[in-house]
Structure formats: C-alpha cells, structure tokens
Amino acid sequence: MKVELKNLTKIFPSRNKKVGGEVVAVNDFTFTIPDGKLVGLLGPSGCGKSTTLYMISGLQKPSSGQIFFGDEDVTELTPENRGIGLVFQNYALYPHMTVKQNILFPLQNLRGEDRMPKEEMLERAYRVAKLVQIDELMDRKPSELSGGQQQRVAIARALVKMPRVLLLDEPLSNLDARLRLQTREEIRRIQKETGITTIFVTHDQEEAMSISDVIVVMKLGVVQQTGKPQQIYDDPCNLFVAKFLGTPPINVFEGEVRAEKLYIGGAAVLDVPGVEDRAVYVGIRPEGFIPDANGGLRCEVSGVDVMGRDVSIVSRHGAMLTPSVRSIVDADYKLAEGQTEVAYALKPHKVFLFAKDTEERIYFGV
C-alpha cells in the first residue's frame, strides 16, 4: 500500500493562551512512501517525527493537509478504519492478558463479515507468532518476557489483522545495544517477508541507515531530505543532515573559498572548481582524510583509537567547529613515535561545503 502525505501540517495550540505562540510540530510535509518499503523517519527529539507517525495512524488529526493510502483519502478516517498496525514505543501490551490473548485481541474485535471462526483466529495468531518467533511463549504474561520478546509480541499484535500499513514508534529504544542490533535485523526480515509498507520513527541515525529502504530526515517539523540511506550520507543537502548522519560524525571546519581553492585555517586544502569566493562551513567525513606529508590540512594529534579493521586518529585544528577532528584511516598507516602533527590530503567527494548563512550545500565540480 502506497502512502502519500500531502502538505501535512500539525499545529499544537499554545498551552498558555495569554502568552500565545503555537507550536508547529510538522510543517508542510509532502512525501510518497512507495508500496512495500521500509521507511525511517529520522530526526532529533522534538522534530515532529512521532507526530507524523500518529497522524498517519489517525490518533492525531492533522491541522491541514491530506493522507492517502493508495488512492483512498484517509485523512478523515478514525484509526480503527484505516487498517493500520501500530507498535507503541513502550509496546502497550495488555499486562493482564497472555501473549496469545494479546495477539488474538485485535481479531476478536472484528465484527460482522470480517469476524472469523475461532480456529481461524488461533491459526492466524500462531502463524504471526511464528513469523516473529514467539510461538513458544504464547501462554506467558508480558511481565514474564524480556524487552525483545515484548517487542515481538507488540509487532505480532500489530500484524495479526494484516494491516495495510505498519507503524513503529521508536521500536528499538527500549532495548539494550545487543538486542537492538538483533531486533532491527528481525524487523527488516519481518517486513521483507510480509511486504507490508512499514514506517518507523527513530532518533538513531545508525538504526535508520541500517534497515531502511528510504529515510526521511526531519528537523523542527520540516523535512530536510529524503532518499536512500547511502545517497543521503554521500550527498547531504545541508549542514544539519550532514551532521546528523554518520558515526563517527562528520568534522566541521570554518573555511574560505578564494580563487576556486578551499582554505582551512589559512592553508589551501582542496580545489573547488566553480565556487565563487566566500566564507563557508566545510564538512569532511572521517573517511575523507588521506594522511599525506604534503597535505594542506595540518592537525595536532591528540590520540589514536585502534578499532581493529581501521584506525581513528583524533586531532585538533584551529578552525574546527566540532570538539575534535576524527579521521578514519587504513590500519596499515602508523603514526611515527612522538609525532605531534599529522597532515592530510582530502578526498573531494567526502568534502561538503555549506553556505555560512543558510547552511545549505554549495556544490563544486569534482
């Protein structure tokens, strides 16, 4: 089921009427989620991603704009008539029911034509339980399950009535690091197997990058960029997106373009053809540094992190805007004993320029 959002806007009225000042949680969100894809809504807290999800679910009404499931306008439909499955951040499993009863609950709610015989309900419950691999826990209460298992039960409950769209609100935030890795693969697998269009919300860019087909980066209610994870990583449209994606995060410097050359801290570091003279922010991905004795960017070494496969050099530079400069270089590269300065050449496609005023990307020919 294709999900289409058209100029979706949500404005929360101010709590204190005298002071005024309403909050625009989501501002003019237009996006089409292709059928059968896994989409991650990504942004820092308070960026409106959960509000967007709840508007798609119908639990919150948009202030303006429209939502389409396929060709059907569902903007005015109540949640129960939209055919969605929703997994809450803290799962909201009914604590007094067993896993089986929890999964059966949505089916037992069906009335009239949709009502199915008991055996079929049970069969469907077991099928979906098997899909999320909890079929052996059916007679337990939620309190007797681990966080990851509860998560699966919540997904099973959302899936059992075959929703047109599956919505997940911060699905991994309540899990520990190990389980998070495992569960996100699970979500990917379940989504692939069912083929249900799935939208999930997260503030963890790694999570979004690793499993989404498409990610939507949001900031303060405004969509910044949409696209495939790798594409956004390689080609961020503004400084916010560049900073938000990637671990370790991108390094940002004050820079200046003069005569189609980029200067950082007074030294020319890169040719930037086609850019007029101006002051810029320079974003350099950690993997964009090449240790080179003749390189223009000279940094003061403050530490080295060895991570097995590769080496991360932590250094300082006078023009940096991030707390430190972190580069990832090949493990074969070794700093000399007592070396206090490292010089880098830069990979042009890992260097992004942003306008100082708008923080928008400035493209240069490579």
Binding site: P79, E80, I84, L86, F88, A92, Y94, H96, F105, N109
Partner: protein, 341 residues
Amino acid sequence: MGEKIKSFFAGLWQNIRTFFKKRVWQGFCVNVLYKKFDRYKAWIYLLPAIVLLMIFTVWPIFNTVRMSLLEGYTSMKAVRGVEFELGIGNFTRVLKYKGFINCLKNTVLLTVLTVPISTFLALLIAVCLNSIKWFSRALQTIFFLPYVTNSIAIGMVFAAMFNMILGGGVRPDFVGVVNIVIEAFGGDYINWMNAGSEYWANIVVMTVYIVWNALPFKILILLGGLQSVNKQYYEAAKVDATPRWRVFTRITIPLLSPMLAYVIITGFIGGFKEYSSIVGVFGESMGPAGNHYALDTMVGFIYRAIGNQEGTASAAALILFAIILVVTMINLYVSKKKTHY
C-alpha cells in the same frame, strides 16, 4: 582515730578515682552499654508504639477472648470478686438469643445489598468523572462531601427526607421529599420509617443511606486507579477497533481490579460493622416507633451488651470477627484468581 578515718576515706576516694579513670571502665561503657544499646536500638525506637499497641489493641483483644470464655462474666460481678468458671456458655447464649438472629439477618442483608450497589455506582461515577473534562474538579468535590460529613447529621437529613407524618406532630402537613417525588410521578405515599412502616421500606431507606455514605471513598479509590491506567492501552485498543464495551470489560476492569478488590473487601468489612448509620436514621431504638430493634445489627447487639453482660458481648464480638474473617478470606481467594496486579 580521726586521722585513720580520714586516710581511709582518702584512700577510698583515690581508689574510686583510679577505677573510673581505668580503661576497664571505659571498656565497660563502650562494649557493654553501647553495643547492647546497638542491639536493642530498634526495639527502643519501637517502644512507644509497642506500649500503646499493647495497651489499646493487644490487651483488649486478649481480654475479649478471656471474658468470652468465662461463664456469665459481667464487670459488676468481677468487681465484687466473683470467681467465674471456664466454658463456652457465652457463645451458646448469644447463638440462642432470638434478637441475635435478627441482628445477623439485618447485618448480612444490608451488607449484601449495599456493597454491590455502591461498588457498581462508584465505578460508574468514577468512569464518568474520569472521562469528562469540565467541572470534574467541582463534581469530585461534591461527590466527596458525604465523606467529610458527620454520619449522624446525614442520618438526620435522611430521616427528614423519608419522613411521613400526616395529621400529627408540629407540622401535620409535612411529608418527606421522597414521598413528594413519588407523588409527582403519580404514586402513593409510602410509609418509609414512621410507626407502622414495613420492614422492606426500612431496609430500602438504610440501603440508600449506606450506599450514599459509602460512595465517596470508593469513587476516590477507583478514580485514582482509573487515572493511573496508561493511556496507551486505550490508544492501542482504539487502533485495534475495540468496541467501547469491550474496552471497558477487557481493559479497564482488569486494570482496575486491584482497586476494585480493595474497595469490595473493605466494603464487606465495613458492612458487617454497620451500626452508626442506623442510629443516625432511626435513633437508638434502631427501628421505627413501635417496632424497636427491627433493624438491630451485630455491633448494636454488642454495644448494648457492654455494661451488663460483658461475657456475652465478647462472645458476640468474636463471632462477628469470625464471620468477617471467613468472608474476607473468601474475598481474598476470589480476588486472587480474578485480580491482575
């Protein structure tokens, strides 16, 4: 001679001084006194409470059991130094006593009537209060008023509401509000509680009064329970297209069950101890004029036996205790099966 005595005392004083200076004494202070104190510290802190509990709770309970097992015990005889024999005569006397069966019947009837009605109404009102937004504070206050009002005062107001004195008294035309309402709906006056009134009418009056009096506490507890239910359960139910009634029976009630169990159990215990409400409405005669003690209860029976037949009163109190114990055990057993914590 004088010198000798003087030097003796001087020597003694010296000895005493060295003794107190010695480490032995210090060691005694630290090791014995302080460590002993440490060991019994908790007990010493608890002492005031324990003493009061002993005097006002443990001793009376013990004394009640003692008195109930002494044949024909009365305080008057005890003061005169009469010796009592051990036996269960007090218990058999209570059980054989005609009025006691009436007390038991009234107590059980009122409890069985009022606990379900008041619990159901309290649940209904709590759910309504929880779902409305306007005036909910004001309404909560109004519903809570009976709780802070004197039950005798409320009883007098109820007595006036249900009164029916026609052709007599200071105001021959005065009829209680209830009968005026009944008349407005085209019914006949009912003699609720005056001379010649019927038993069922008296019970209705008492049921209405007790239910009304019991509501605020129950509403308070249930409303608190409702407000602590996570709203996401309702959102989840909404997404799953759960019909309203099903949300109530399958989600609200189970999540509220600990509070419901508490309210029902305390309701039963309170019901078996019913006394002041009946005195409040019917006065100390505990019944309409000409039919005294028609609405007598267990506590009423015990209360009147104190002062002339303490043995009998004690036996009745223990019987009441046994009944409450059994009923509460049943309650707990049932709630354990039905309650989700």
